[in-house]
């Protein structure tokens, strides 16, 4: 009885809060203010938010989110009720509605972003049962198509080393490329090898075929460059054993090589990369709403759940998210543990990056069309919103292009696509943008610095606008494209081939800026409108410049980067003496060590490297450089065991990636906009002085 009563009280309290909040919100959103009062309102509420932002409590975050949403909704209400264009001139009206649609999209994504990021779930690993007999059997699938063995081998070797009863762990190389050397390698290292001639449905088809031939209770799927730690299964499996309705546990994709943004803008490890926001915040937020989805790799999946949905989905090119969606429609739950358990290679070039994002965008658009999360049964409203957020995110290209071109419609053609006093529009829109920026910085700042979303979207927008649009109208079209990994950039160059849309957009915005400044300088009619649009063009130029600076591909000598690994080691000299050393970084091709008491070594000297805590396997090495205590070694012709030992030292430790993000500075929006400004100047300068640039053949 008391339980029912307290439930009733809770429900009444919640109803009261919703009613009160709703009425207050209605008043706040729909009450227009004159210019000065609106400006004062915006300024005062921003100061309030600044004060709130000094407190770290989660409740304060929720207040700031609510405040930001109220102010943004107030702006959108103002836009809809006051600034819609006249509907007599067709072009004005159409362009005005296009701009409005773009803003509505951005507003919707803001809301969905807050929804996903409001309460990221802190899910910790659960211990495995003491009784090993209760540990289930697991199949590890490593699908590959055309990647070189040098990329795939570490993954296989590390998978083989996963801490799991050997009789219940089977590693499979799923080769869609039918390459004999892969078969030989599998045999040499003692893992299973499946090849597939038909290669229909790409990666999904590859996995499904393997599912038909294997019987493990769980499946761990690893992209061929995703080298796992030894702890991956023990980290993930506890939750699956505890909850029989849990279909999959996803872990983050962690990249130990710089992506093109990080490499070309020199931000590797000093600021979050593009994927961190998703893997470190959004997936945790999705987890709260039981809407975590499979990301194609680094997930342990219950076979019965896979069987229940007919295996991995093959209708789209983002089979992973689609499969998770299907499982959840069947009533299965999904979960996410934010403990990085693999190390992978990021895309090497901007063009490869663009190709990968085109596939994701097309795939998400396909799912949105053929298995729309808002339609069909089996999902809660929250799940629908989370899935929709992840899919709609990839539709950012068109709105972004609209924002990049909108001010030109007035500056070039005098089209009034937005009615009303420009200063009033500014007084409403600035608080909306500034509160959103501050709140996002608070919620996401650890995972993505302020204004970088604009840079990423501006970089990708011209390339994914077409795939998403085509997929919306023809969802069955398009093929799976494999992301190239393990390549190199031979020399630094400006990739004009990939940058031309941005050059065009930058030229248009520069012209718009000059036109606006001229109108303002000459004091022509509507000079205030002109200067505001010119300011908009200036901001666009900034973002386009930053996008252009990413197109300056920086030289990358190593196909596989070295990892910072500090381990005690021993150097065995040809003389038979042994000297203690400490590794500083390691790669499969070489190492750098601190060797304090090592006699001078000539370049070309041969010695052996071994670790004192392991099997004392000696790894033959050649001295490349020896200066003071600093010793550089090269590994030639390693045996499988030696490579396995290196892989285990490099990748397999459970804590390999846990401290990767430590030591970063906090997000400071003003610093970030200044940095983007500098990148923008550099990019524009680069584009201006490189009329014809060298571009390597693919």
């Amino acid at each position: 009885m008391s339980t029912h009563f307290s439930a009733l009280v809770r429900a009444a309290k919640a109803f009261g809060l919703v009613l009160c909040g709703g009425l207050l919100s209605l008043a706040v959103i729909t009450t227009p203010l004159p210019l000065k009062a609106q400006a004062l309102l915006g300024a005062v509420l921003y100061v309030v938010a600044l004060v709130l932002n000094r407190f770290s409590q989660r409740s304060v975050t929720l207040v700031m989110m609510s405040l930001s949403l109220l102010i943004s909704t107030r702006y959108m209400y103002f836009r809809l009720s006051t600034t819609l264009p006249n509907f007599v001139f067709a072009l004005d009206a159409v362009l005005g509605l296009v701009l409005l649609a773009a803003e509505l999209y951005a507003f919707m994504m803001l809301f969905l972003g807050y929804f996903q990021g409001a309460w990221p779930l802190e899910r910790k690993p659960i211990s495995m049962p003491e009784d090993l007999a209760r540990w289930p059997s697991v199949d590890v699938f490593i699908p590959t198509y055309n990647e070189p063995l040098s990329v795939v081998a570490p993954t296989v070797l590390a998978a083989r080393a996963i801490d799991w009863p050997h009789d219940r762990l089977k590693v499979y190389i799923l080769d869609d490329g039918c390459r004999p050397e892969f078969g030989a390698f599998a045999a040499e290292v003692g893992v299973e090898y499946f090849e597939r001639v038909e290669s229909d449905h790409a990666k999904a088809g590859n996995i499904n075929k393997a599912l038909g031939k294997t019987h493990g209770e769980y499946v761990l799927i690893l992209d061929c460059d995703h080298v796992p730690t030894r702890s991956i299964l023990q980290i993930a499996m506890g939750w699956l054993l505890r909850d029989s309705k849990l279909a999959l546990i996803q872990t983050p994709h962690h990249f130990y090589s710089p992506d093109p943004f990080e490499r070309n803008l020199q931000t590797f490890r000093t600021q979050p990369n593009e994927g961190e926001l998703f893997y470190r915040l959004i997936q945790r937020g999705n987890d709260l709403w039981n809407a975590t989805f499979f990301c194609g790799s680094c997930a342990v999946i219950r076979r019965t759940a896979l069987d229940a949905v007919g295996g991995v989905a093959v209708e789209t090119v983002t089979e992973d998210a689609h499969t998770a969606l299907r499982m959840q429609r069947q009533g299965y739950r999904t979960a996410y543990i934010d403990v990085p358990q693999i190390g992978g290679l990021a895309t090497e070039s901007l063009s490869a990056h663009v190709g990968q994002r085109q596939r994701w965008a097309r795939g998400m658009a396909q799912i949105f069309r053929i298995d729309n999360p808002f339609l069909g049964r089996g999902l809660s409203l929250a799940q629908r919103l989370c899935y929709a957020a992840s899919m709609l995110h990839f539709f950012h290209a068109l709105p972004r292009l609209v924002f990049l071109l909108a001010p030109l419609s007035y500056l070039f053609f005098g089209l009034q696509i937005l009615q009303g006093s420009p200063m009033l529009v500014l007084a409403y829109s600035l608080p909306h943008l500034m509160h959103a920026s501050m709140t996002n910085s608070r919620v996401q700042g650890k995972y993505r610095y302020s204004f970088w979303s604009e840079v990423y979207e501006t970089s990708l927008a011209p390339f994914i606008v077409l795939p998403t649009t085509v997929a919306l109208f023809a969802p069955r079209r398009g093929k799976f494209n494999v992301t190239a990994k393990g390549g190199r950039v031979g020399r630094t160059y400006f990739d004009r081939g990939i940058a031309w849309p941005h050059i065009l957009l930058a030229a248009l915005n520069l012209a718009g800026l000059l036109v606006g400044l001229r109108r303002f300088y000459l004091g022509l009619e509507f000079a205030d409108v002109a200067i505001l649009n010119a300011g908009w063009c200036g901001y666009n130029l900034l973002m386009l410049g930053a996008a252009l600076s990413v197109a300056r591909e920086t030289q990358q000598r190593r196909a596989v980067p070295r990892l910072p690994v500090k381990l005690s080691a021993a150097l065995m000299l040809p003389s038979g003496h042994t000297r203690a050393a400490q590794t500083q970084d390691l790669a499969l091709s070489g190492a750098r060590l601190l060797a304090p008491n090592l006699p001078a070594q000539a370049v070309g000297n041969k010695l052996s490297l071994c670790w004192v805590d392991a099997d004392r396997l000696a790894i033959p090495a050649v001295v490349v450089r020896h200066e003071g205590d600093d010793l550089h070694l090269r590994f030639d012709d390693l045996t499988v065991d030696a490579r396995a030992a290196l892989v285990e030292r490099m990748f397999s430790r459970a804590d390999t990636w846990t401290s990767w993000h430590e030591g970063r500075r906090l997000d400071r929006p003003i610093i970030e906009i200044a940095r983007i400004f500098l990148h923008g100047l550099r990019g524009l300068g680069q584009a201006a002085r490189t009329p014809f640039s060298w571009r390597p053949r693919a």
Binding site: C20, A27, T30, M65, S66, L246, L288, G420
Partner: protein
């Protein structure tokens, strides 16, 4: 009106005095009647405005002038002031032509020696009854002399002419005593000059006399477009044309006047010679008692256009049709008003291939309330003739000098424009600005400048859409009173208005009252017929349901003493002192953003020093739904007239409740708070109040955010717990 003026001249020699002045001094003024009178007229008043000169690219500008209808022009001169430095860069010379004859040629180079000033005396032989004054600019020749001179001056070239003033001298002609000539001899509205009307009232005028005087003042305001000023004379006749208000034979006698028996009957009007000044006239408004005096005033309002002869009497009772609330003749009303109705018959077409502006003036109710919309829609249909010489016109629309937007340069176009509510006032001017790009090719100047093939026409069925507008405003708002007479004018006949005066009003107080009645009539197009005038002490409860206008020098009305604490301005030690009105609650001020006393300090600072005139408004203490406006001054001389209230004022805020006039300057203040008044429901009124209380809105926003955060925290924390416990299920 012009037709009446034309008729006037034909009556000039028909002087038949049926009214005889008793005063023997009449004959002694004959010399002064023939004395010439001088007038200064700014060229801007004749149409050569700065706005036009900034936009125009025409080589010539033309204005016309004449003497008053009852005068003959005897001499004329022109004073021009140039910016010599600019002149040297835009023209070679300016020719001044009078009636087609070049009077003087002014080379730009010659302007430096006299700081750009030129005085040009016109030969009297060149003067006609209607004169055309033309300024013709010869632009600088571009490049080598073999190139043809340009047909146009560069836009803005005319700004080199800083100002121009016509100096006219004219001789008055004798007028017959004929009521058909009204408003002559008081003023000629077509003659561009300040107009003043003198009123004569008996000593200790009665309320009925003042009410009748107010109606007559309103009638005069309706006869012209310009602002009238008034002088009042109590118990004596002036040496000028005057209106005399009389309620009975005693009043007539007290001024030394008599009329032929039966001429006026019990109520009537008569035009007689002023016995104190030869050549001057008196308009007698006569009633045998108070009620009959009102009949005479109403007769003037009803028959003013059809009066004939030296005198008329009104026998039957006159009952003018009462006006409903907001049924104001000069206020456009309705959900959708055609442009033709707004223009009131004015042509909506302009011709000629040169820059010009078509003005459509119109009045709306000043409390027009379209909120939460902040605009009304103007649906425009227009067409233009496109000449080969000039090409299509560039069209811009502005409202009260605020740019609204361009129109497409099509041969036929339709457009929907939004007129911001903030730009709409009681009196508005819709401006259609037409301009042409200068053609690159050389063309014939005449063809280009007066190209009849280039025209723009706006269709009369274009519409101003007010939609479901209400009548609602935050009051007090002095701007509404100063420019639109609001809230008094909401009733066109002032039926809800009480005008309070001291028991013995001074001439200055009467002048101020008359000017306000005239102002109200100019706003509404209807002279006050149902206003209530009260003299001396008044019991507040009798003012329930009425808007009150009090006109008194500072200490001369008991109501000001009685409600001293409620006023933003009070008398203390014979000085006007600004104060916070008692009903201006602290919290109410805070939520509307009035955090400090800077306005109060500013007002106190302004009040230090010389004599001050003041107008303030407040909710009536005896009826919060009604307004109380007080026109006062620290002394008699500083009590302002209506015309003095209008014009630029420092410290203007969205709403003000105190206006101070000091040494020719105006200062506005907001010392109290406002309340809504009008015809909207309570919820809309509450929301509207909130829209003027941004501090309250900021607090509500924060409160809403906290409420949602509390709700979200409870829900999300519970959900997180459930998610992490799910495994046990």
């Amino acid at each position: 009106m012009m037709k009446r003026m034309g008729l006037t001249l034909s009556f000039l020699l028909l002087a038949s005095a049926t009214v005889v002045a008793q005063e023997p001094a009449a004959a002694s003024g004959s010399e002064s009647a023939a004395r010439p009178q001088s007038f200064r007229i700014d060229l801007a008043d004749l149409g050569l405005t700065r706005e036009l000169s900034q936009r125009s690219d025409r080589t010539q500008q033309q204005v016309s002038f004449r003497a008053r209808a009852d005068h003959v022009l005897s001499a004329a001169a022109l004073e021009l002031s140039f910016d010599a430095a600019r002149a040297a860069t835009v023209f070679e010379r300016v020719d001044v032509l009078l009636n087609g004859e070049v009077v003087q040629s002014i080379p730009a180079a010659s302007l430096r020696d006299k700081a750009g000033q030129r005085h040009i005396q016109f030969e009297p032989t060149l003067l006609a009854s209607q004169n055309a004054l033309e300024l013709r600019m010869q632009p600088l020749k571009a490049g080598v002399s073999t190139q043809p001179a340009s047909c146009n001056v560069s836009p803005g070239a005319w700004t080199a002419l800083r100002s121009g003033t016509l100096l006219l001298q004219s001789l008055p002609l004798p007028l017959p005593n004929d009521l058909a000539q009204l408003p002559l001899p008081f003023f000629d509205d077509s003659f561009e000059h300040a107009q003043q009307v003198a009123f004569v009232l008996p000593r200790s005028p009665s309320e009925a006399q003042l009410k009748a005087a107010g109606s007559v003042a309103g009638w005069f305001a309706l006869q012209g477009r310009r602002r009238l000023t008034f002088t009042s004379h109590i118990g004596e006749l002036p040496h000028a044309d005057a209106v005399v208000i009389l309620d009975g034979p005693q009043a007539l006698a007290s001024l030394g006047l008599s009329v032929q028996d039966g001429l006026l009957g019990s109520a009537g009007l008569a035009l007689i010679d002023n016995p104190r000044s030869a050549g001057r006239k008196l308009l007698l408004v006569y009633g045998a008692d108070a009620a009959l005096l009102q009949r005479a005033a109403l007769g003037l309002l009803r028959d003013g256009y059809n009066l004939k002869g030296a005198a008329v009497s009104f026998q039957p009772n006159i009952a003018l049709q009462p006006l409903a609330a907001f049924e104001v003749p000069r206020w456009a009303s309705g959900a959708s008003i055609s442009l033709g109705a707004l223009a009131d018959g004015q042509p909506l077409k302009v011709s000629g291939g040169h820059a010009q502006t078509l003005k459509v003036p119109f009045r709306l109710s000043p409390d027009l309330f379209v909120w939460p919309r902040d605009y009304v829609t103007l649906e425009l249909a227009y067409e233009q003739g496109i000449s080969k010489v000039r090409g299509p016109a560039r069209l811009h629309v502005a409202l009260n000098d605020k740019p609204i937007g361009p129109l497409s340069s099509q041969r036929r176009g339709r457009s929907q424009l939004r007129l911001p509510r903030s730009a709409l006032r009681g009196y508005n001017e819709l401006l259609f600005q037409i301009s042409y790009d200068t053609p690159a090719s050389a063309v014939t100047c005449g063809a280009q400048d007066n190209d009849e093939n280039a025209w723009v026409s706006f269709k009369p069925d274009s519409r101003l859409k007010l939609g479901d507008a209400h009548h609602y405003a935050l009051l007090p708002d002095l701007q509404l009173f100063i420019y639109d007479g609001f809230p008094f004018t909401a009733q066109g006949d002032l039926r809800d208005t009480s005008v309070l005066l001291p028991a013995q009003p001074s001439a200055r107080e009467l002048s101020s009252m008359l000017s306000l009645f005239a102002h109200f009539a100019a706003v509404t197009g209807y002279a006050a017929t149902r206003v209530e005038v009260k003299l001396g002490a008044v019991e507040p409860r009798t003012l329930q349901g009425r808007d009150v206008l009090l006109i008194a020098e500072a200490e001369r009305h008991p109501l000001l003493e009685r409600y001293r604490a409620e006023l933003p301005l009070a008398l203390a030690d014979s000085e006007l002192v600004a104060q916070r009105p008692a009903r201006s609650h602290f919290l109410k001020r805070i939520v509307t953003g009035q955090f400090n006393d800077s306005e109060l300090e500013r007002a106190r600072g302004t009040l230090e020093g010389s004599a001050v005139g003041a107008v303030f408004a407040l909710p009536a203490p005896w009826d919060a739904q009604r307004s109380w406006v007080v026109v006062t001054g620290s002394d008699s001389a500083s009590l302002p007239e209506a015309t003095a209230l209008q014009g630029f004022a420092r410290g203007q805020r969205p709403r003000n409740d105190l206006l101070l006039l000091q040494a020719g300057q105006r200062y506005l203040f907001e010392l109290g708070t406002q309340d809504g008044r009008g015809q909207v429901d309570d919820l809309l009124a509450l929301r509207f109040w909130l829209s003027h209380a941004w501090v309250a809105l900021a607090a509500l926003t924060l409160l809403a955010a906290i409420v949602w955060a509390v709700f979200a925290r409870g829900q999300l924390a519970a959900l997180a717990r459930r998610r992490l416990d799910e495994a046990n299920s």
